[in-house]
């Protein structure tokens, strides 16, 4: 683990302003050096003294990290960072270091040194702990299993959770991955407010709104990048922007044109947004090419009297006389909707307008870089030809494929027949008894004779002798009513439900434990470290215990003895297989390593 250095303020309580300085974290110590060399607040603390860490939520007022000495008493070393990215880097570092110490402390002393790295990978932050507790609370079966195996010292806490990483991950993803998108309220809804006495009109812009303006109006975004701070201050920029918005709003196109002529920066806001227009053109190219959009444009009645949309109490008109852009309500709504749907691509803290603007520019470059115009054109042509394709005149679209060539389907059959016949209670060998060598001609002649015999003699009467019929019916009745037939046939009715509840619970618990233990057992092979060797020993003794308990359940005399033994038998078999594997491996190794006392010293 490398060291990490971060600018931070040190404080003893959350309220105080703190001393600015530099925080440096290393493998086992962290140090704080104040910027002011005269300050006495120099720190150098061993991580071993730190028992836990707390931190403020992302997006809260301050980016805080609190390294506590004693979780009960509270207090400790509080650092405030410039932003959450810095804080999170330090938090994660502390988490790893603390996790390592914790794992070291809980480890048995007899473990060789080389094992440390494998055991200590897991870090146990408080959130991690909470997540596990939550999972256990929500799933009583998991809790039972956890209690049995972890508190029973058969598996360690980390071994238990190692196979359930997905549960933890999913949960984590749910908590942290969701990002807030743009508000669905439109920019137009943010109205200027007048104080009524003077002619002053106030627009209020929050970082949130600015981000949204950048996303929805690329021309404003570009202008910001070009003008600020080289040509004007940020404040001037927004003042101009608001002025332009105001002109838009008052629908005073003459005034707008006049002002635009005087002030070229202001004109930028009043002109048509060429980036948007370009984007729109690109989008139109992706529309079904057989659709005539221009024809549609002619059907626009909004300029006729009594037609159109009312906005802010007045009717929208379109006049194309001057350069001044008239955005219609429909355009604004569409633009806003598409930006909201695209979502917020930025992953940075809002605040500094310049950073936001630059980050947005970067993300846009990435997304547009992959499509060149030439490709788009080709694609369009392809689409046109596909849309105008007349099916009956086309050759079939044949996909290239490699033919599956099965040389001998007999193999599938044979591999299946073995089991099929076993299940039906007969064997292949026993049944292949008709081996008469036959003359083809004779066989056909026999068959024809049989048919003509029926033809000549007619059907027998009665068809079935009553003795035979009775035999058949009682045979069928017996078959259907036998227990073997009924067992497990009805999916709604489980064999388990017929057992007494206590026995059922017991068997279920053993069953889940066995599954868990066997999973750990088999995944421990091949045994490459003495850690695994010890783990297998632990697992084996636990499995032996369960094995005895199962046998005890099975041997109890009760009405359900048969059903219970049917249930338990496969469990015992699974355990037997594991024991057999254990013994075989043991033998193999003792032969190989002969003289060595326990055979697993690496």
């Amino acid at each position: 683990m490398a060291a990490i250095t971060m600018a931070a303020k040190y404080k003893t309580t959350v309220k105080e302003p703190g001393i600015p300085g530099v925080l440096k974290m290393m493998d086992d110590v962290f140090a704080f050096t104040p910027n002011d060399p005269r300050s006495a607040m120099k720190l150098k603390v061993d991580f071993r003294n730190i028992k836990g860490h707390k931190f403020s939520k992302d997006g809260s007022k301050q980016a805080l990290l609190n390294l506590t000495q004693d979780p009960e008493k509270g207090g400790g070393y509080i650092f405030e960072f410039n932003n959450f990215t810095d804080r999170n880097a330090c938090r994660d570092f502390v988490g790893k270091v603390l996790g390592k110490f914790q794992a070291l402390a809980s480890k048995q002393n007899d473990q060789p040194v080389s094992e440390k790295s494998t055991v200590s990978v897991e870090q146990l932050s408080t959130t991690e702990m909470e997540r596990r507790m939550k999972l256990l609370r929500e799933d009583s079966e998991l809790q039972k299993l956890h209690k049995e195996l972890v508190f029973g010292n058969i598996l360690t806490e980390s071994e238990f959770w190692a196979t359930r990483k997905n549960l933890l991950d999913d949960d984590y993803a749910r908590i942290s991955k969701q990002r807030t998108g743009f508000k669905s309220a439109m920019l137009a809804d943010i109205r200027p407010s007048t104080d009524g006495r003077t002619n002053k009109v106030t627009f209020s812009l929050t970082p949130e709104i600015i981000h949204q303006i950048f996303s929805e109006k690329p021309a404003v975004h570009r202008a910001f990048l070009n003008f600020v701070p080289s040509k004007m201050t940020e404040k001037d920029f927004w003042t101009k922007y608001c002025r332009a918005e105001y002109l838009h709003r008052t629908n005073n196109s003459v005034a707008a044109a006049a002002e635009a002529a005087e002030d070229e920066e202001l004109a930028v806001f009043l002109k048509h947004d060429d980036i948007l227009a370009e984007e729109a053109r690109r989008k139109i190219r992706r529309v079904d090419p057989t659709l005539d959009m221009e024809a549609d444009l002619g059907d626009d009645y909004t300029h006729l009297p009594d037609h159109g949309i009312l906005r802010d109490g007045s009717k929208e008109t379109t006049d194309a006389e001057n350069d001044i852009a008239r955005r219609t309500l429909a355009q604004d709504v569409n633009r806003h909707a598409s930006v909201v749907l695209e979502g917020r691509a930025l992953d940075i803290e809002l605040g500094d307008t310049r950073t936001v603007a630059e980050a947005l520019a970067r993300s846009k470059q990435e997304s547009s870089a992959d499509k060149s115009d030439e490709n788009a054109n080709l694609e369009r042509q392809e689409r046109v030809s596909r849309m105008t394709e007349i099916e009956d005149l086309q050759a079939t679209h044949s996909l290239p494929y490699a033919e599956l060539c099965i040389k001998d389907p007999r193999e599938y059959f044979d591999s299946q027949q073995v089991n099929a016949l076993k299940a039906l209670g007969s064997t292949v060998a026993g049944s292949r008894t008709i081996d008469h060598s036959l003359n083809t001609e004779e066989a056909y002649v026999y068959l024809l004779n049989e048919i003509s015999e029926v033809k000549l003699q007619g059907l027998h009467n009665p068809i079935v002798q009553s003795e035979a019929a009775l035999k058949v019916l009682s045979g069928l009745t017996q078959q259907i009513s036998s227990t073997r037939y009924n067992l497990g046939k009805n999916p709604q009715e489980s064999v388990l439900d017929r057992l007494p509840k206590r026995t059922k619970d017991e068997i279920m618990l053993h069953w889940t434990s066995i599954q868990e233990l066997l999973r750990h057992f088999w995944s421990s092979y091949p045994i490459t470290t003495s850690y695994l060797y010890n783990k297998v020993l632990r697992l084996k003794s636990a499995m032996t215990d369960i094995y005895q308990k199962l046998k005890a359940i099975k041997d109890v005399q009760s009405d359900f003895r048969h059903q219970i033994s049917l249930l338990i038998q496969p469990m015992l078999q699974a355990l037997d297989a594991a024991f057999a594997h254990y013994d075989a491996e043991e033998n193999k190794h003792s032969k190989k390593n002969g003289a060595k006392p326990n055979g697993f010293v690496q």
């Binding site: 897991e122 196979t163 007999r410 060598s437 049989e450 015999e453 079935v464 035999k471």
Partner: protein
């Protein structure tokens, strides 16, 4: 005779069996049938009859053979089989006026439609003697044709010649598809396989395809296996499609099995308890030794299963370039992350 009381508990269908009489007493449906164009229990039954000359000839030979280990009731002659099957087909038609029965012959060289109750025309058509003679006539024609198609060796081992089950299953399914498509309201179709000869391993892919397409069109395949050995194909077929698989113990009472078990229409099956096999064993066995295995190698192309690593798949010929690393020699990389 008080034998009626025992079975009636389990087989409460819409017919009554009186053991001293060979006939089924058909209870006519109520007026409803006249009003409704069709009711739920109208069935289309496609019966696949195994007409394998080698099987029937050799089983006849083994009956005379005193060294044969089989009890005489375990083997039926073909004429006796017809004596059970033809009345059964007639009784299916009697169960419901609108029932339709199609008989397909499964030969060793070909398959063919033998009889279709929907086709019959004329005055005497549909009467029991007419149906019987038509079936016999068409069967004779079929056997003659099948003989001419054969180009195999003169002498064969009976157990080695299997009937074209895949072919007759396909015919049945095609017929059912036609019915599905031609009428908006059609009878409930099902297939009944009367199989006696052993399964033909070389038909594996074709048979499985037929079974799956039957499953997709929700057509149950009932199986009545009259041969010496069980049929793995039909066991699968009935299991997958939800049909009944049965291997009768007493073949001299075959008609009784057919009418008690296989005559039941799909609607009534939900109220009845019919015999089913103990279940299909889905454990895998390796292609190389036919041993049941718990862990093995699967060809990623054709899904063949092997108990140990091969350089090349023996079924489809795919080459496996990468040999698995010897687990004992090198520690698995995955292990490190999953252990902890």
């Amino acid at each position: 005779m008080n034998s009626v009381s025992t079975p009636s508990k389990l087989y409460s269908g819409n017919f009554t069996y009186i053991s001293s009489s060979p006939f089924l007493y058909f209870l006519p449906p109520l007026m409803g049938l006249l009003i409704l164009w069709q009711s739920d229990d109208v069935s289309l039954i496609v019966v696949l009859l195994d007409v394998n000359p080698f099987f029937w000839a050799s089983s006849a030979a083994s009956v005379g053979d005193s060294t044969s280990p089989h009890h005489p009731t375990a083997i039926l002659s073909f004429s006796k089989l017809l004596n059970h099957v033809i009345p059964f087909l007639n009784s299916l038609l009697l169960l419901n006026q609108l029932n339709q029965v199609v008989l397909v012959a499964t030969g060793v060289n070909s398959c063919s439609y033998i009889y279709d109750s929907g086709d019959s025309e004329g005055e005497s058509a549909g009467s029991v003697p007419a149906v019987c003679s038509e079936i016999l006539r068409r069967l004779e024609e079929f056997v003659d044709k099948d003989r001419l198609l054969g180009k195999g060796p003169d002498k064969v081992v009976a157990a080695g010649v299997s009937s074209l089950l895949s072919g007759s299953l396909s015919l049945a399914l095609c017929y059912i598809q036609r019915v599905f498509r031609s009428k908006a309201r059609h009878p409930q179709p099902r297939i009944l396989c009367l199989q006696s000869s052993p399964d033909g391993p070389e038909q594996y892919v074709a048979v499985m395809n037929s079974i799956f397409s039957a499953q997709r069109s929700m057509v149950p395949i009932d199986s009545c296996v009259m041969g010496v050995q069980h049929s793995a194909f039909l066991q699968q077929a009935s299991y997958i499609t939800g049909g009944v698989y049965l291997k009768p113990q007493h073949l001299d009472g075959l008609f009784q099995y057919l009418s008690a078990v296989f005559a039941t229409d799909l609607q009534s099956r939900s109220f009845l308890q019919l015999p089913k096999p103990a279940g299909v064993d889905f454990r895998a066995s390796c292609f190389c030794h036919k041993k049941t295995i718990d862990m093995g190698y699967v060809c990623s192309v054709c899904l063949s299963i092997f108990c140990k690593h091969h350089k090349k798949c023996s079924t489809c010929g795919s080459e496996f370039s990468q040999a698995p690393s010897d687990p004992n020699a090198t520690p698995d990389r995955k292990r490190k992350t999953s252990e902890v």
